[in-house]
Symmetry: C2
Subunit: 253 residues, 2 copies
Amino acid sequence: MGRVTACTNQKGGVGKTTTVINLGACLAQAGFRTLIIDLDPQGNATSGLGIDRRTLRTSIYDALVDRHPIEDIAVGTQIPGLDIVPSVAALSGAEIELVPLPGRERRLSASLAGVAGQYDRILIDCPPSLGLLTINALTAADGVLIPIQTEYYAMEGLSQLVNTIRLVRNALNPRLEIEGVVLTMFDGRTRLSAQVAAEVRRHLNGTVFETVVPRNVRLSEAPSHGQPVAVYAPDSTGATAYRNLAVEVAARG
Amino acid sequence: MGRVTACTNQKGGVGKTTTVINLGACLAQAGFRTLIIDLDPQGNATSGLGIDRRTLRTSIYDALVDRHPIEDIAVGTQIPGLDIVPSVAALSGAEIELVPLPGRERRLSASLAGVAGQYDRILIDCPPSLGLLTINALTAADGVLIPIQTEYYAMEGLSQLVNTIRLVRNALNPRLEIEGVVLTMFDGRTRLSAQVAAEVRRHLNGTVFETVVPRNVRLSEAPSHGQPVAVYAPDSTGATAYRNLAVEVAARG
Ligand SMILES: Nc1ncnc2c1ncn2[C@@H]1O[C@H](COP(=O)(O)OP(=O)(O)OP(=O)(O)O)[C@@H](O)[C@H]1O
Ligand SMILES: Nc1ncnc2c1ncn2[C@@H]1O[C@H](COP(=O)(O)OP(=O)(O)OP(=O)(O)O)[C@@H](O)[C@H]1O
Ligand SMILES: [Mg+2]
Ligand SMILES: [Mg+2]
């Protein structure tokens, strides 16, 4: 049974999509059959892997709202062993459309039950909010991966996120645990990055991964080529960081 | 009557809060009586202006859900002429609590009607989504200010945002217009920033402000001191950019 990891943080722009794409690619290259679920209506994980959203006939929207089987929606990527269930803009209506449906929090976990045997790892890219899409991801997940940008606002929403995880664990998914926190966009030239990193480790000691992802322009260029950084710039500091993170994640998983 | 501007973009981490705080401070220093509305449950605009959220008895939540008068909630900041209606974590429940209420999209515009005469400019900081909180902001606003980060994913959600603005204009608020687009976190050392800036100007020609906000570490340090950059580092490139932006915004307003 594949391990399901939800990558979430309601703070925007902290590196959720970048982490899912690049960790997913590294896990696939290490031999884990990996599936990415793009649960963000913006579809950045879909386009960041080079998939043209206008060509898609089905997406995660169909699985959530019409219970369309996931294996009919998943598509391959240019990385052998890495598939993705893409997202389209229509997904932004799903938050309101799901509200009256039975088992609205469990729609994703029901969908994934059908494919869990075909993958070793499933990574879910969440939108920057704690709404029904993210609740679906937390209900379907074994663990939560929390990217935290090493900037001042990083700690602000953390207690709300940890609270939400606890609520989901108590009411919907007893196996849910925090898999780990990954520090992102670390800039060694500024005092701010080091200060925030130290504070995050103090607050969350033990759950923070050793690997720290540096700020690296190759990571922000890679999606414009539709490639993970492991393909676009394999020798960059960004690619090295995600390879190291994949080793740590696999060891904990 | 004060002009109301909603600062929004569902893409996360593009500089919405940084723009509202620093544009607000510069407008106040230029003599405009300015009110900031923090409509994000994370409350980054509140803490970025040095306000301790734990000490607050009322917040924007009370105005939206219980119709509490805005003038009783607004608090002063250390910038003369700049007030803020703060936000607390409870606001994240408002999206669901507002759904059954009458006129759920107009709760903010009803609240602001009471104070519009006391301020020249009202700036609304939105969360990174197109949910009911952002719809309330668009329904209450005269214009929309759209920060766009000069990174690859910047253009992805733009058509969805423009669509939502059109829907709100047709169904809820006929006066709503796009006030302008501001390019943020521009890094002159990378080709990517210049490429994205050129593409945004091509797509949205005429609405993009001349002022481009550079990536500047002083902007990310200022909130940890609870100050706008105009106070924290008045000679920085970040402070200069927001002063110039305030001149352009005032001229269009
Ligand atoms: N380590 C890094 N170094 C440099 N740029 C990065 C890094 N990680 C992410 N980026 C860039 O920063 C921006 C934000 O990252 P990303 O989109 O992955 O964040 P997110 O949390 O998924 O955002 P959202 O909240 O909108 O979903 C993107 O333009 C991305 O390319
Ligand atoms: N021009 C800039 N130069 C350097 N850092 C910046 C700049 N603008 C914003 N930042 C920093 O980048 C991060 C994201 O900015 P900000 O929080 O203002 O974005 P946002 O769009 O409000 O995010 P959210 O989607 O979570 O509401 C913050 O840590 C902020 O301090
Ligand atoms: Mg994302
Ligand atoms: Mg913000």
